[in-house]
Amino acid sequence: MPRHYTALPVLSIFEASTCAGCPIATFAGGHLAEIATKFKLGNVRFLGKGGKIRRSNVALVEGVAASAEEELRLHEIRRNSDVVVTIGACACKGGIPYGIHEPEEGSTDAETCAATRYPRPVTSVIQVDALVGGCPIVAEELQRVVAQTLRGVAHRALGGSVCVECKLDGRRCINKDESRDEICLGSITQRGCAALCIPHGGCKGCRNMNEGANVESFVRTVAAWKKVPEATVRHALRLFNNKI
């Protein structure tokens, strides 16, 4: 249902266990002043507005839940927010920290790793209204998602994979290039990042995966192209996509 605001909407930014990269990316490049004109700031602790969780129209949440206290806090954030948007790979799907649940190769503590409750993505603790993936997020994408959800419009991803942006850049496919040993996850990853990482070693899959991505086919196909074991391709997936 569309929402109408007669005053500036209240925006809060909350961190669970995090590197704080996503808020930094949100505010970088001059967005800070712009955000201050379009929103009234609620909780933004690192900018001096911490304390008790206030009622917000929009709550951006980043990081992973690493304790029971953090889970409780996330529930309180949910209760006090009209709209909750998870920002970043950690909050959306666990990101790099979630990899602790995967035992290292040759390890004997597989059961311990899998059974450990923490860390967990925010999306596994509370219901959220939109997800903005990436490590870090793309600020312009966040602006679009927040604007849509504030209007009550369900956010839809742009459609297409990173391959679209890579080809628009005129780049050669890394996965088809036998002279390069990197595995590129662009074909199963949502576009929207301008294929930034392609010239620097390929896509690592930090953004949300494309809906309906055929991961098994991807693994088989790339393994065949690169002439490597399928385990090598799966290993590349695990940097940001351990919940698969």
Binding site: S17, C19, A20, A28, L32, G48, G50, K52, P97
Partner: protein, 469 residues
């Protein structure tokens, strides 16, 4: 006119101490990266008997996550220790890998001196670090400390946003961010750092354009930003406490990586020997480790670099130091903020020259290298908040064990001591819990804390000390 605002901290009394004493806490600190609070403990006579820095941030087990990873993956993971200073974590991680895998890298080159990164890569990494340090220092000075000086709760408060000096600071932060974006692909979690060099796609036009932006900022409005801090000089308390400073050594003012550490009366040590001195302990009241040398605290950061390397600063930076009243070899913890401002001036002095030099260098093709060797390496560099160390043991080209020594962790023991020494006489003079909290928060902010970096990443039993030597 700026209205005075109360400080936004929660004050709670727990009163759960035996002997009738009391405990007060500031609650989670605002205007810091990550979660921490300061506790003060009084006895029955209302004397302050302890000050605690309680880090509340949880571990993300980053060091453990490195096991089994290639150098490239290790670099991507370690950058994500912190989104405020990912450049320095990236540099330290790649330096550790380069040193650990030196034999494999040397096989790529015919030089008998061994592998060295090219001048182009040196400049790209140095410029990235300088841009990141400039941005970080400005955020701290004008985003965290200045609001306290003018008694507003946030730089985003309407009264603050009207101030031209705040808009100038935001503009310069944007300029610094764009420089780092340009030479690293993306300043938050860069994409261009690699074992054999930088993959940055830059050209002369872009580099010279950024050099011009830096020059404009320095000439048109940085002076007024300095004047603002100079006029607020009287708000900085006079408080001195003897301290041992630690910083990297170098021929130039060290804002990059290095191989030797200056450790006060203990002299100049190789980085690996420095590791044999330190001790890491997690106090019961905190979730992160505190680092000491011979059970004594020490301090890293801009104040430490100023202590050792003042003569190596540019003349402009030294004039800014004089203008803001930063004395040589200062033992005042509050002066760390002034030392950061001096470093901003130094960076603004030297960045245009470096960007211009880089603009004259051709692009280069980076050699690929197979990661199949064993080795140990330590990458050490001067992060905005102090000396950062990444240690990595590689077996068959993958990380077998890793450890990071973070600037904020190294400062926490000194910070607790300083908080106590600063607040104790105030308590003796009859200061209330609220007044003590306010004073301790101001001192804590001068350290420019970064808690996300500082959290314990490994349980102590998982550390493999023996491999360091």
């Amino acid at each position: 006119m700026t209205q005075l605002m109360p400080f936004p901290f929660a004050l709670r009394h727990t009163g759960d101490h035996s002997g009738g004493g009391s405990k007060f806490t500031t609650g989670p600190l605002d205007k810091t990266e990550g979660w921490a609070q300061i506790n003060g403990i009084r006895n029955e006579e209302r004397e302050l008997i302890a000050a605690q820095v309680q880090v509340l941030e949880h571990s993300r087990s980053m060091e453990k996550l490195l096991r089994g990873k290639t150098p490239r993956e290790a670099l991507l993971i370690m950058q994500r220790v912190c989104g405020v200073c990912p450049v320095v974590h990236g540099i330290a991680a790649v330096e550790a890998a380069r040193k650990a895998l030196l034999a494999a890298l040397t096989a790529l080159t015919a030089s008998c001196e061994g592998f060295k990164i090219s001048r182009r890569t040196q400049l790209l990494e140095l410029i990235a670090m300088l841009g990141g340090t400039l941005k970080s220092h400005l955020e701290h000075i004008y985003g965290f400390v200045a609001p306290e000086m003018i008694r507003v709760d946030s730089i985003l408060a309407p009264d603050a946003m009207k101030l031209k000096v705040v808009r100038m600071a935001m503009d310069l932060i944007k300029v610094a961010t764009k420089v780092t974006d340009y030479v690293t692909g993306r300043s938050v979690h860069p994409v261009t750092f690699h074992l054999t060099g930088s993959t940055a796609e830059v050209d002369a036009k872009g580099l010279l354009g950024h050099a011009a932006c830096i020059e404009r900022a320095k000439n048109e409005y940085f002076e007024r930003m300095v004047e603002f801090i100079a006029t607020m000089r009287s708000a900085i308390p006079d408080f001195e406490v003897p301290r041992r400073f630690v910083a990297l050594d170098g021929d130039e003012y060290p804002l990059h990586s290095g191989d030797h550490v200056l450790v006060g009366d203990l002299g100049r040590l190789q980085v690996r020997d420095f590791f044999s001195l330190i001790r890491e302990d997690t106090p019961p009241h905190s979730k992160t480790y505190f680092v000491t040398i011979h059970d004594e605290p020490y301090v890293v950061g801009a104040a430490a670099r100023w202590f050792y390397h003042e003569p190596k600063l540019s003349p402009y930076a030294r004039s800014v130091a004089a203008e803001v009243g930063l004395p040589s070899a200062s033992m005042n913890p509050f002066h760390n903020t002034l030392a950061q401002l001096v470093e901003c001036a130094h960076i603004l002095s030297i960045l245009p020259r470096l960007l211009t030099e880089l603009a004259e260098l051709p692009d280069e093709e980076l050699p690929m290298v197979a990661h199949t060797k064993d080795g140990v390496g330590i990458g050490a560099c001067e992060a905005p908040r102090g000396t950062l160390f990444h240690w990595a043991l590689y077996r068959d080209g993958k990380v077998a064990s890793a450890r990071a020594l973070i600037p904020t962790s190294q400062n926490l023991a000194a910070m607790e001591r300083d908080l106590f020494e600063y607040a104790r006489p105030l308590a003796q003079a009859g200061a209330t819990d609220g007044e003590l909290s306010r004073a301790m928060i101001a001192l804590a902010h001068s350290y420019d804390l970064c808690m996300s970096c500082a959290v314990r990443m490994l349980k102590k039993e998982d550390l493999v000390h023996s491999h360091v030597h």
